[in-house]
């Protein structure tokens, strides 16, 4: 068995967490661990042979031979994108964490790093079983982070997200077991790389696909299983919200790209149609709900649920364009929502509130913060130049071209995919409405409520957010940087 470098990027945060948990200089340990991890992933990114789009850095250790479960690691372009997202956001989350904390500083960083290890482990595993296990590793740290350091109705939020996600995970597990048992006996496996190539071999059984969709859907906050998300993100401390909304939620999407897309494709029509209908719910219904929010943190929480709709559309589109778009959008959304949550946390610590009716005119006092928030908001809306734009354009083009010829249900000459795409386009308008409104509300106009205290963003926080936004701009201007070999990961 060869040793994969991916093992190190899983172990570094865990070791960092153990050091942090001792309570001796936890912030320093966390910064070192997350910074080192980011550098390592960049190195892996650089040495990855992009041209062929093959699996690299693989290793395999048998765990349960009877069921063909192995602790196997490996990465292709899609995994690397997700690993890059995880490590950038972790680094930023550690940097924007409050420098002084009243209680349990060591525990706080340990929790952040454990979430990071869980996400990285999931994205680096090529065994479905470990992919699943790593994701759940993040559940308890999230529970503790929201419960101990959260704000507002933190207890209810922590219970809700934990129990809801535990339920979702279990449904997902049943779906994965179902997938295992519908596979013809001699080729049964939990190996993701083998499963990806079994599109024609595994029979298209509707209930398995639907169970997987619901399981993943709960974890991604697919409408109508989204209600845990806004509440949890609103109550969570900013770094926890960044990790969860930015990184962890992508687990389900990644799982769909890896499993349901190559294995089931559009072979089960009713599940595909169900997904298309629900994602319109994500975009339009949740979009309108987002507009109605009166608090910045809730608005951001709902907007992150809403943006999942575009990624679902890309996944449902099932062609090269839309799937690539979905992958880029996963990265882009993770970075932009992390930046927004980081800034929202900064606002809260200065004003003590995030209610729109108590905020206003912050740009005068905090010009640096206003500038960065503006950029992050523009990215989230999908302005050209940011990675979000590249992703959304590909998704819309891809989805519009999907399923065009054979589709029977047509309305005014449009097929089902096209109708859904047209509906989804309105989401862009909706997100412009709520983002711009909140930006104006918070940073311009007259100062309301009591005057905020403190000075503009500290150098460390500013660098962390700038890092996220620079990454967005870089991918936005040069999407080719991330797409080399991506097609082969998406359509094996």
């Amino acid at each position: 068995m060869s040793l994969s470098p991916l093992l190190f990027i899983i172990l570094i945060p865990i070791i960092g967490a153990l050091f942090s948990a001792t309570g001796v200089m936890p912030r320093r340990w966390a910064t070192i661990a997350s910074g080192l991890n980011l550098i390592l992933v960049l190195v892996l990114w650089a040495v990855y042979p992009a041209g062929q789009g093959e699996w690299a850095f693989t290793s395999k250790l048998p765990v349960m031979p009877a069921l063909d479960i192995n602790f196997s690691l490996g990465a292709d372009r899609l995994s690397l994108i997700m690993l890059l997202l995880s490590t950038i956001v972790t680094f930023a989350a550690v940097l924007v964490s409050p420098a002084r904390m009243e209680k349990g500083e060591g525990m706080f960083y340990a929790c952040i790093l454990f979430i990071s290890a869980g996400a990285i482990g999931a994205f680096a595993s090529t065994d479905v079983f470990f992919f699943y296990m790593f994701h759940e590793l993040a559940l308890i740290p999230t529970f503790l982070l929201i419960g101990i350091w959260g704000s507002g109705d933190r207890q209810a939020a922590a219970w809700r997200i934990t129990v809801y996600l535990a339920l979702g995970s279990f449904i997902l597990l049943i779906g994965l077991l179902g997938l295992y048992f519908i596979t013809p006996e001699p080729v049964r496996t939990f190996d993701m790389r083998k499963l990806q190539e079994m599109g024609g071999i595994i029979p298209p059984v509707g209930w398995v696909y639907a169970t997987l969709l619901v399981g993943f859907g709960i974890l991604i906050s697919l409408f109508p299983f989204h209600s845990w998300a806004p509440q949890a993100y609103a109550s969570a401390p900013a770094p926890a919200a960044m990790m969860h909304a930015g990184v962890l939620k992508k687990f389900g999407l990644y799982g769909m790209l890896r499993l349901t897309v190559p294995i089931f494709g559009d072979s089960v029509e009713w599940v595909t149609h169900l997904l298309l209908i629900l994602l319109v719910g994500n975009i339009l219904y949740i979009g309108l709900v987002t507009i109605a929010q009166r608090k910045l943190d809730w608005m951001l929480g709902y907007s992150s649920v809403m943006h999942m709709g575009y990624i679902f559309l890309g996944i449902a589109g099932l062609n090269v364009l839309s799937l690539s778009g979905a992958s880029i959008l996963m990265l882009a959304h993770g970075l932009s929502i992390a930046a927004l949550f980081a800034l929202a946390g900064e606002i809260r610590s200065r004003t003590g509130t995030l209610e729109f009716s108590h905020l206003g005119g912050l740009a005068k006092q905090f010009p640096g913060m206003a500038f960065l928030f503006g950029l992050a908001a523009m990215a989230s809306i999908g302005l050209p130049g940011f990675a979000n734009f590249a992703g959304e354009v590909l998704v819309f083009f891809g989805a519009f071209a999907a399923g065009s010829s054979a589709e029977a249900t047509r309305l005014a000459g449009f097929n089902f995919y096209q109708i859904v795409t047209v509906c989804s386009l309105w989401g862009v308008v909706i997100s412009a409405v709520y983002m711009l409104r909140s930006y104006r509300n918070v940073f311009f106009g007259d100062a309301l409520g009591k005057a905020p205290t403190g000075s503009d963003l500290s150098f460390v926080t500013r660098s962390a957010v700038t890092l996220l936004i620079l990454a967005l701009l870089l991918v936005g201007f040069f999407p080719g940087l991330v797409t080399g070999g991506l097609v082969q990961s998406l359509i094996p």
């Binding site: 048998p62 765990v63 349960m64 031979p65 009877a66 069921l67 602790f71 349990g104 525990m107 699943y132 296990m133 790593f134 759940e136 590793l137 559940l139 308890i140 529970f143 503790l144 419960g147 101990i148 207890q155 922590a158 219970w159 934990t162 129990v163 809801y164 535990a166 339920l167 279990f170 449904i171 597990l173 049943i174 077991l177 179902g178 295992y180 048992f181």
Partner: protein, 489 residues
């Protein structure tokens, strides 16, 4: 190496029991630590001997013993299991003995502690015979040995009303369940003219259609009795009160040892009958209904508990439910391994939780969840141990509890037991809620100012570290244990 006849195992255990008992009787000044050490030494000897026995010795000797005593891999594994559980109980009892002294009348301090350390050894012998029993008479006798030992242990702290109440409840319901067992055995004997499970297996193809109904009735009664032992719905109602009232080490022993042996007997009893046409499918149906009800009841009732001991009691019912899911999916290839693995995990995490509970309640004088408030600050080691036990019981990945549930539900999905899978999904989510209630108390809440410091003696810390290491190691690499268990299939 296969050196000894397996019978020697029980002989070692019983001898240890008598030595310890007599030592206390003849030299009352012996320190209780010495007594515990002697007991542990004897049990450790028996544990080592389990690896050296020759399972085939009894069958080859051809004596009458072979008709009711089996030393197959399943039996040997669960003998080891019982010995380990007993050793952990004794370590826990030693830690608990200062609390125990306050609950028993005695002319001098420390009187009666030695018996408390000894009786579990006899219960252990009972458990070891129970897992070897392949004849209803043997099952009955060994079961009674276990139950009578517990009749003594449960109300042991007899100055406490709650303990006495628990004792009376356990006595009456235990006797009732024995009645069911004997009555069931009579019906089965009436139909088959034998009490040997081996003989029933050979005879099943000769059974007429008329024999099915009385046979089903008899097996049903036996299942009722086993249902009492393993805490299956609707025979679980004694569990919360007895678990709460009994001295904590006894609660731990009762919930692990008694349950494990009960499941082994259940598997042994079911095996010959499942293959009988017209009886087997009905029994599976019965098990599905029982498992669903046990899952729902245990998990839903646990949601509202505020006392850790009662929480563990309902959790014991809940886990009986998951194990019954495994039994109901007995046709699946992994089912046997799954049950063995689950029980082993259950042993590790339950004892870990009870170790923390004993230490915390000794220091703070209560067993409510709020006694755990702020434990994360007061004693990070204990808090982490408890968190590990709780998340493992809830079925978190990278702990042994997850692989247990995974294997059980693998069997259920393979057998297509959809009802059980759906109830499983609901109850696993419930589990996260009530187990994390303890985690919340430890980490979210702050400790009261007068909270006492908690001392953890070295030998307890050592035991707990081993348990924790096993929980995590088996949660990542379960294969070592599965290999051991696949030999038992």
């Amino acid at each position: 190496m296969q050196l000894y006849n397996p019978v020697i195992l029980e002989i070692i255990v019983v001898t240890t029991g008598f030595v310890v008992l007599l030592a206390e009787a003849f030299s009352p000044k012996v320190d209780r630590r010495t007594i515990a050490a002697t007991a542990l030494f004897g049990l450790a000897l028996a544990l080592i001997a389990t690896f050296l026995v020759d399972p085939g010795a009894i069958q080859r000797s051809g004596g009458s013993l072979a008709q009711f005593y089996s030393a197959d891999f399943l039996a040997i594994y669960f003998k080891q299991f019982s010995i380990v559980a007993t050793m952990l109980t004794i370590i826990l009892s030693l830690e608990y003995s200062s609390v125990l002294e306050r609950g028993i009348p005695g002319s001098r301090p420390g009187a009666g502690v030695a018996e408390f350390l000894t009786i579990p050894i006899f219960a252990c012998a009972g458990l070891m015979w129970m897992v070897s029993a392949v004849d209803f008479i043997m099952i009955f006798v060994s079961l009674e040995l276990v139950t009578i030992s517990f009749y003594v242990l449960v109300p042991y702290t007899r100055l406490k009303d709650r303990s006495l109440e628990a004792g009376v409840k356990y006595l009456i319901l235990g006797a009732l369940s024995t009645g069911f067992l004997v009555y069931g055995i009579t019906w089965i004997f009436g139909v088959t003219q034998t009490t040997s499970l081996v003989a029933i297996t050979e005879l099943r193809s000769y059974l007429t259609t008329d024999a099915r109904l009385p046979l089903l009735f008899g097996v049903g009664l036996v299942l009722v009795s086993i249902g009492f032992k393993v805490a299956a719905f609707p025979f679980q109602f004694w569990i919360p009160d007895v678990y709460q009232g009994a001295p904590t080490p006894v609660t731990a022993f009762l919930s692990v040892g008694s349950k494990a042996a009960g499941f082994v007997v259940l598997l042994r009893v079911l095996e010959p009958f499942l293959a009988i046409q017209g009886v087997g499918p009905k029994l599976i149906g019965l098990l599905v209904v029982t498992a669903s009800a046990t899952l729902l009841f245990g998990n839903l009732a646990a949601l509202l508990q505020n006392n850790v001991k009662r929480l563990m009691a309902y959790s014991s019912v809940a886990h009986a439910g998951y194990l019954l899911v495994g039994v109901a999916s007995v046709g699946a290839a992994v089912s046997g391994q799954a049950i063995g693995f689950y029980l082993t995990g259950y042993l590790l995490m339950t004892f870990l939780a009870f170790f923390v509970l004993v230490l915390v309640s000794k220091a703070s004088g209560g067993e409510e969840i709020d006694k755990f408030n702020g434990l994360g600050k007061r004693s990070p080691f204990l808090a982490f141990a408890m968190m590990l036990a709780m998340v493992s019981l809830a079925g978190m990945p990278f702990t042994v509890g997850f692989f247990g549930k995974f294997l059980i539900f693998t069997a259920a999905v393979e057998e297509g037991q959809w009802l059980l899978v759906i109830f499983g999904a609901i109850t696993v989510a419930c589990g996260f809620y009530y187990y994390l209630k303890v985690v919340r108390a430890m980490y979210w809440q702050s400790a009261p100012d007068d909270a006492p410091a908690i001392e953890v003696p070295v030998y307890v810390r050592f035991t707990m570290v081993i348990l924790m290491a096993l929980i995590i190691t088996l949660g990542i690499f379960p294969q070592s244990l599965l290999t051991l268990l696949s030999a038992s299939k």
